[in-house]
């Protein structure tokens, strides 16, 4: 039996932005990619299912080639995944639908009985890859799963929760689950870290697998943000300080302004924040106004 866990790296949100620095963010310690927390829970689900299964189970961790994917896969190997696959493509640009297509293409070469996804991504909050993948493969997808256990041969039972909604569902494999909550991923042992050699990660070029004919990107271009906007500045710079320079607000090396604490009626505070943002040219003066304003 095979369980496939599809994971992606995200940027560590606990790391704060270092103002005044001109170094590239990703090169700073603490800003390195980490596994999506719900993907970690997914791996823990897979590991527990393997421990409790009455038949041999192989866990394959898979990630579509992005910066940090290999790091995530190495970490998953150290925690107990049996195999790791990295789907790489030169000039790759991440897009949910295309990722789902690539996973689907890979899945057809190496199908699994159970596919696990993190229900939400930490950075974008999105969770569309799993459902799209399941739709492409025609297998059932259950979202918001909080608990999984075996229920006879070739069957599992899951509990899904969404606010006050709670369901217990039995389903036959193959199936696809979006893990929302669960036990934290176990800590890797020393032996696990020794075995997690990056050379164990099997790299697959996206061009080596048959393409999904129903979904193929024909054209991709970056959006061209308006000159002077924050998005344009970010697109062209990689550090907060350069961004400030580009926007002409408190440039590199300048002293930080004193913090001010705005007190008062929420409406008043919101108005003052809006005026400050316009004054600092963080937002376009004409584009935003509060409701009720003329």
């Amino acid at each position: 039996m095979r369980i496939a866990l599809f994971a992606r790296p995200v940027q560590n949100p606990a790391a704060g932005i270092e103002t005044g620095s001109t170094r590239v963010l990703e090169q700073l310690r603490g800003y390195e990619a980490i596994p999506n927390p719900m993907d970690e829970m997914g791996l823990e689900v897979a590991l527990r299912l393997r421990d409790e299964a009455s038949v041999p189970v192989t866990i394959t961790a898979c990630s579509v080639g992005m910066e940090g994917s290999r790091k995530v896969l190495t970490e998953f190997l150290s925690c107990g995944a049996d195999e790791a696959v990295c789907i790489e493509e030169a000039g790759w640009e991440p897009d949910g639908a295309v990722v789902a297509a690539r996973l689907s293409e890979y899945y057809r070469t190496e199908p699994a009985d159970l596919c696990l996804f993190g229900a939400r991504d930490l950075d974008t909050g999105a969770g569309e890859v799993g459902p799209m993948f399941a739709a492409l493969e025609g297998i059932p997808y259950i979202d918001s799963v909080v608990k999984v256990w075996w229920s006879g041969d070739g069957q599992i039972e899951v509990t899904r929760k969404q606010k006050r909604l709670r369901e217990e569902i039995r389903l036959e494999l193959p199936a696809c689950l979006g893990i929302l909550r669960g036990e934290p991923l176990r800590y890797p042992s020393f032996w696990g870290k020794l075995e997690a050699d990056p050379s164990r990660i099997r790299a697959i070029s996206a061009s080596d697998v048959p393409r999904e004919p129903r979904l193929e990107r024909k054209k991709f271009s970056r959006p061209k943000p308006k000159r002077g906007s924050v998005a344009n500045a970010y697109a062209e710079t990689r550090s907060v300080d350069q961004m400030r320079q580009a926007l002409g607000i408190a440039g590199a090396g300048a002293q930080q302004k004193e913090d001010s604490f705005l007190k008062g009626d929420p409406q008043e505070v919101a108005q003052r924040i809006l005026e400050k943002l316009k004054e600092e040219k963080v937002i376009d003066s004409d584009s935003l106004s509060l409701e009720g304003e003329g």
């Binding site: 790391a15 620095s21 310690r29 800003y31 800590y187 870290k193 020794l194």
Partner: protein, 687 residues
Amino acid sequence: MPIGTDSLGKVFPLKMLDTPTREIFWQIDAQWVFYALSFATMVALSFGLFKGIRFIRGGSGSSARSMRTLGVRVTLTDILSHRPLAGEDNSRWWHLLIFYGFVLLFFVTCYLMLAHYVHEALFTGTPYLLVSLVADLAGAAVLLGALVALFTIRRDPSPARDRTLGKVVVLSLLGLVCVTGFLVEGLRIHVEGDSWKMWSPVGAFVSWLLPSLAEPEGHGVFKTFWWLHSILALGLLAWIPLSARLRHMLFLPLHRATTPLEPRSLSSFIDVEAIRTSNPSPGAVRLGIETPADTTQKQRLGLLACMDCGRCERLCPAFQTGQSLTPRKVLQDLRDYVVQSGEGGKGGRGQSLSPASEAITPSSLWACRLCRACEELCPAGIGHVSQMVEMRRAEVLGHGRLPDEGAAALRNLIRTGNPYGAGPSERASWTREQRIPPPPAEIPEKPLFLWTGCFQPGDEQKPRVLSCLVGLLKDLEIPFLIPEDTSCCGDPARILGDEDLFQALAREQIEKIEASGAEQVLVHCPHCYTVLKDVYPLLGARFSVIHTSELFQELVQEKKLQGRGFPNPLSVVYHDPCFLSRYQGLADAPRFVLEGLPGLDLREPPRARREGFCCGAGGGHFFMDLDLQERPSSQRLEEMLAQGPEVLAVSCGFCFSMFDDALRRLPEPPALRIADWLELLKEASEK
């Protein structure tokens, strides 16, 4: 037979002797039975000793340094004075009575045997009188000590007092041996008469108490009690190596003599990098204590030296707040676990009945604060903490098993170099704010490397304390530099059992420190200080490490640090951090600095210095928030508040946070300021 009358008018037979002496085996016909019993006792004693030695030798090789260090002089002084037993209770005194009484009785018995077989003159005249007196007084001392001990055990409601049947049985047996001995002596005096009985005062008193006995009847009773006394005494001797409460007589002196005198490292060092490069198979290398074979010979000697006295529980923050940890029971369970593995406790690696961590419950293992209070009070000098750390190491390195909160802290360390998950921006922002000038190009000495440690997001205390330190160094014009990119010293990884992560972080920091060219590192955090000073050298560090209290003590002594002090009297009580007072012996230096501040009234709390009570943050507990009814910090805060201070001075960021939390939990928090002593020093130094 001539008769005599004593001062109370009691009549007794009077045996007239020319010189003081007596027959050693008087009225005892079947002496061969006694010899047979003695031989059996020697066999049992030897067998027990042999078993103990075999148990010790079954362990893995100890570190050569610890087993070869012979603190003979210190050990002898400790044993003869019983200094390690000094404390609030009277255990030192009753144990001294039993100890000296037992030793003297042993020598007296040997002397009697010598006199019996070598020359009767050795037990005649003055030697007889002296030996009789010494024997009586020694027996009285043992009996008195046993009675006081029994009374103390019975009356003491302290939870640290273990009223196990075993202790009562041993003490009762000791007392019974003495009582039967005095009865034998009293009966002899009563039946035979003795002109020199006043040299056996207790025996004389007993004989006076006894009713009149005719000779044949008296002889019969005497023989009965003689044999009873002999069997009890020989049985006690044979039981010594087999009883947990008696075998410390054999093994404790040896254990103390082989315990290093200087502060010990947290646990035995393993070179993880060397293990990694040798590419071993799982279980082929000793990572910690998991199987019986993993216990070292030194550790096994300690397990045998434990006398189950329970002193280790008196200051244990986990035990005193009702948690599942009992340091004493951990040692007993570990010893039983090793013994049960059979073959003298050898056990093959991977062939254990169950991992050591299951013999000791996980909740006990992770409840430990590693504060070393147990070791401080242990008369046998056993290293409880190092064994806990090695068991944790086996759990984490071997299996990745530890509490989830601890695992989260370790993951943060791996990802950000900070156990709180904070990125480098916190420290970087603070460093820039300090506007530290570069050290002058030509200075007679290299600048101090100021170790800042980890910054916690949202924490205001640590930046404030470090700012005070920087301000003081600037005012004193002491050249120093602050690193831009050092991360955590690795202590959380070490104490949580991930020695691999710790050594990786440590090697990284050593490289950065040495790349800066600094030769001396100034540290304020006691945890960082302990690790940098005691463990980093094992990984190749060549720099020296100084604590802020040592530096400022020196400056105060040299009168280089002066200030106006506090205009209004300020009452302060100082809490000793475990990693500074017990691990490093630095309890005086912070006090010296504080007492030198004009206007500061320093008050001493109960349980201070090396016997201070832990705040509860140690052992990784700052990262593992346990749901407790009572917290060690609350108990300690109550003690501090009883001194009526305006300020609670600390020397550790963890202690600050724990007391701050405990203060906020009070239903009506008093107006107490919690401050680091560096802050007080800075305030007092401002001109």
